[in-house]
Symmetry: C2
Subunit: 163 residues, 2 copies
DNA sequence: CAATATTCGTTCGGGCCCGAATTATCGGCT
DNA sequence: AGCCGATAATTCGGGCCCGAACGAATATTG
């Protein structure tokens, strides 16, 4: 939310609108920056690495999860990727149509659907993931190395706080 | 991406798939957790605070930005909120239809559109924002207080890294 | 002052996103 | 065996999301 204006400018405006109501500005700063950071990183990676393969962020995450855990059930992909099964169904259809993965009903339990990468899907990930990680590197390089593990830990704390 | 499996399990799987290729797992952990955290916090706030007013996250951000800066141009809202003008156009139409804000062409520059809250929009934010901030508080409470400013700073570093 | 370039908001097309309803299957219980 | 509650995945409806293309208005340049 704190975009072209500084956080102080925003805070001053908020104070003037709410007339001294008690608010936690540090909490505001954390959630606000959390979203701006996530969106900024996502858009950056989509443009620099994913665009050339015409993949969205979510499609890439799905491919990555399947690549690591195949064969994996639909519910597992959704849990691992952090989106709903409804969302996943559509993305799977897209990726299946492009020939990157396959759906197959489980013989052991007729309710389950098992997902696997095709050879083309594996080739794509083998090429794409190192590039993706290199760019992740470039982005996080701006954080002091000693702070990196703490950054990951703080983010994990936030995840746990919503459970 | 690191969902029900631990990061170590995931890392082991990645190593076995890539056969010793050099990867930066700390960078992976940061971006992965960044997204899981952002989505978790967003979904949590949408369910606990925003759902009762039938507002999406983005709609709330738009109302918040307009509330603080009105009158504000369309391009300003998009920059401040961190989404594209194309996205904003649709959200503005939704919120205008619900009577929370108004669009008005600028007299000084015929290309600009100025956005203002309606009284109903201001009433909504005056009620909703303190509840929203309280929940932000509950979430960030799990971070050691002394780490809060550093958390915000690390996130700002990530934002800057993509510019 | 007219031709040109830039800036702004919107629209369009395709894809993601979720909750709720739906269909199919499984497991337990009688 | 037959029912019944639980569980899986999909579909559906409405909304968000972006880049590209568009048209209107302004700014710039010769």
């Amino acid at each position: 939310m704190a975009g072209q204006h500084t956080l102080n400018e925003t805070e001053n405006e908020v104070v003037s609108r709410l007339g001294g109501l008690h608010l936690d500005y540090e909490a505001m700063a954390v959630t606000s920056n959390l979203f701006r950071a996530a969106n900024a990183v996502r858009n950056h990676l989509e443009r620099t690495v994913l665009a050339k393969s015409d993949l969205t962020w979510t499609a890439f995450v799905v491919l990555w999860v399947v690549w690591i855990w195949e064969p994996i059930e639909t519910r597992g992909i959704a849990a691992e990727g952090g989106f709903s099964k409804a969302t996943l169904s559509g993305v799977l259809t897209t990726l299946e149509g492009r020939g990157f993965l396959t759906r197959e009903r489980s013989a052991a339990d007729g309710r389950l659907v098992l997902v696997n990468l095709t050879p083309a899907g594996r080739r794509l990930m083998k090429k794409l993931f190192p590039e993706f990680n290199q760019e992740e590197c470039n982005i996080t390089r701006h954080i002091t190395t000693s702070d990196l593990p703490q950054a990951a830990q703080i983010l994990r704390d936030l995840i746990r706080a919503t459970e």
